[in-house]
């Protein structure tokens, strides 16, 4: 098979090869572009500026979390706790907002960062499997959340006048701050990955941990930083959500970890670690959001069908992606 079939239309040899290479590296991007183009034609209410900015805004909360997850997965680990930590971050932010904007920002970031740090410690120094440690983290964060909201009975509201609301509800040039934040964060993430030794160490640890160790790289410290960042970012995502919804919703983030993971993996990051791109994860998040939005465009579609369809689409996407990846090699 040649890349032609993957390409929207026929291309000359060289362009075909280039496309194949692009497709191989950014299969998700190709699919995203295709998906957006198609649905713009099919559903007239899809392409509207309003809808697109909605998609972007809704994607931004997931994206922030996905950024942290990307590094965790590239380091050969996984972080199942993000969903609960996200919710916890939101509740803490709303609680903090009672005591001023700074509290609303610092309290969640500190606590969630601490949770990440502890997980990192247990994983890096204790040598426990990330899957289990962060699964425990998931339980722990959720439990903590219930504790501070007395079994979820109280929901803290962000005070009406609070500047904290602006963070997610305000915008610049008609585009919500969260979107700007995400763009900035991912730009920074890309820089960290490609232009710092921490970045390459993450990849090395994920690719060949024992080798990384023998090469004298700071394996443990790298993991510490990575899981701490994941905690901070998950908390930050929750914080944004709290500002967006003006309240510390206690029922958020259930099953979010899986959504984030699939976004990252869709983005072409190897779950076994060692390879991946930051941009890919952003694309992955957008892809999921677009799929969801499109399914809604279909109108009053039974929620079960929605599940069936989005699951199937996910499978088709990864299959196509997989196939694209093999194109160049033959």
């Amino acid at each position: 098979m040649t890349a032609t079939t993957a390409a929207p239309e026929h291309l000359p040899g060289s362009g075909r090869a280039r496309l194949a290479r692009l497709a191989q590296r950014q299969g998700a991007l190709v699919i995203l572009v295709a998906a957006v183009l198609v649905s713009t034609f099919v559903f007239d209410s899809f392409g509207t500026a309003g809808n697109l900015t909605n998609i972007a805004l809704q994607a931004s909360f997931l994206a922030v979390v996905a950024l942290g997850m990307t590094f965790v997965i590239m380091s050969g680990g996984i972080d199942l706790s993000v969903g609960s930590v996200f919710a916890l971050g939101g509740v803490l932010a709303a609680w903090g907002a009672q005591h001023g904007t700074w509290a609303a920002l610092l309290v969640p970031l500190t606590v969630c960062g601490a949770i990440g740090l502890v997980q990192g410690l247990v994983i890096a120094r204790g040598g426990l499997p990330p899957f289990i440690v962060t699964l425990a983290g998931l339980l722990f964060a959720r439990g903590l959340l219930l504790l501070i909201s007395d079994e979820g009975a109280t929901t803290y509201k962000v005070p009406a006048g609070s500047a904290f609301r602006e963070l997610a509800q305000g915008g610049f040039l008609g585009i919500g701050y969260p979107i700007w934040i995400v763009l900035a964060a991912f730009a920074a993430g890309g820089l960290v990955l490609h232009r710092t030794s921490y970045g390459s160490t993450v990849l090395a640890v994920g690719g060949q941990e024992d080798a990384a160790d023998l090469m004298g790289l700071p394996v443990a410290r790298t993991k510490l930083v990575t899981y701490t960042m994941s905690g901070v970012l998950a908390g930050f995502g929750g914080l944004l959500m709290a500002s967006y919804t003006s309240s510390g919703v206690t029922v958020l983030g259930v099953g979010m970890e899986l959504e984030v993971i699939s976004a990252v993996v869709l983005g072409g990051t190897l779950l076994t670690g060692g390879a991946g791109t930051v941009l890919g994860s952003l694309v992955g998040v957008l892809l999921l959001q677009v799929i969801r939005n499109v399914i809604n465009q279909v109108g009053s579609l039974n929620s079960n069908w929605q599940a069936v369809i989005s699951g199937t689409i996910l499978l088709i996407v990864v299959t196509v992606q997989r196939w694209l990846a093999t194109v160049e090699r033959r």
């Binding site: 809808n51 909605n54 809704q58 979820g152 919804t245 309240s247 109108g299 009053s300 929605q306």
Partner: protein, 334 residues
Amino acid sequence: TNPGEQDQAAAPSGDGGGDGQVVKESSGEDCTLEDYGAEKLDLANAVVGFSQSEPDTAAFRAAETKSIREAADAAGVERLLVTNANNELPKQIADIQNMLSQGAEFLIVAPVNSDGLDPALDAAKQKGVPVLTIDRKVTNTHCEDYVAFLGSDFYEQGRRAADAMNEATGGEAKVAILLGSSGNNVTDDRNSGFKEQVAAEYPGLEIVAEQTANFARDEGQSVAEQLLQSNPDITAIYAHNDEMALGAVTAVQAAGKQPGTDVKIVSIDGTRNAVQAIVDGNINAVIESNPRFGPLAFETAEKFFAGEAIPEDVIIEDDEYNQDNAEAELGNAF
């Protein structure tokens, strides 16, 4: 307990009637079209959106959605958009925003959660689209963010469950409570209502255990099994919804006891299975919840657009099933 069980709240209630609901009381100050600052709208040939909160596999949700659809047809709306948030608040926000961008002119919302719908409600406000919330009240500003709340008083349901429990047990019992999922308003109200009523009125009812079973039947069963094992002297079980109660029935049987007699069981909802269980003598009483909001909702909407004043809270009549009426009322269960 597993992390983050999906939550499946039940909701407000009226009489067991297979048709619309009966308003019990209306409270809060009124809201009119002008106060709200919305345009007049003829529901016939209008685009109406309904945002359901939870999967339609729950009997309650299925009935709710169904009745909205039927009422919409009856009112002859041009197009009814229905979305289901699958219990995810962000998805419900997205759903509502999507329906607005698809041109919805009036919204009926069954909120996933009392707090946090602000972005969606703001979007509606900007487009001048009135929002009617059913079965769960939002904490936002009345007559600005939403027109009114149709539903029942979960706290009241809890209190009446306590009364029913007192009835069933004759005032003397060791009670185990099967909680709904944590962090959910329905769970909180139904629990505090029950406990405060017990504390106030029924000293003979001793609450020996409260464990969450996440509104699910099989969890209700396994939790009840464990509780009955660890303290065999439990003589009554209060479940926050019918599913957990039905699970408890199986558990009691498995423990070699007779549900309904050895261990009294009271729950809230009024699903057909539960009412049948009353008939079979396995459950003692069910505080009913009526999901059929359709007629009342559209009636309220029509009044509103006709310029009439709508009160903040439209609380509907709560009925009760017990050995006396179950047989007869079975047909009204959903």
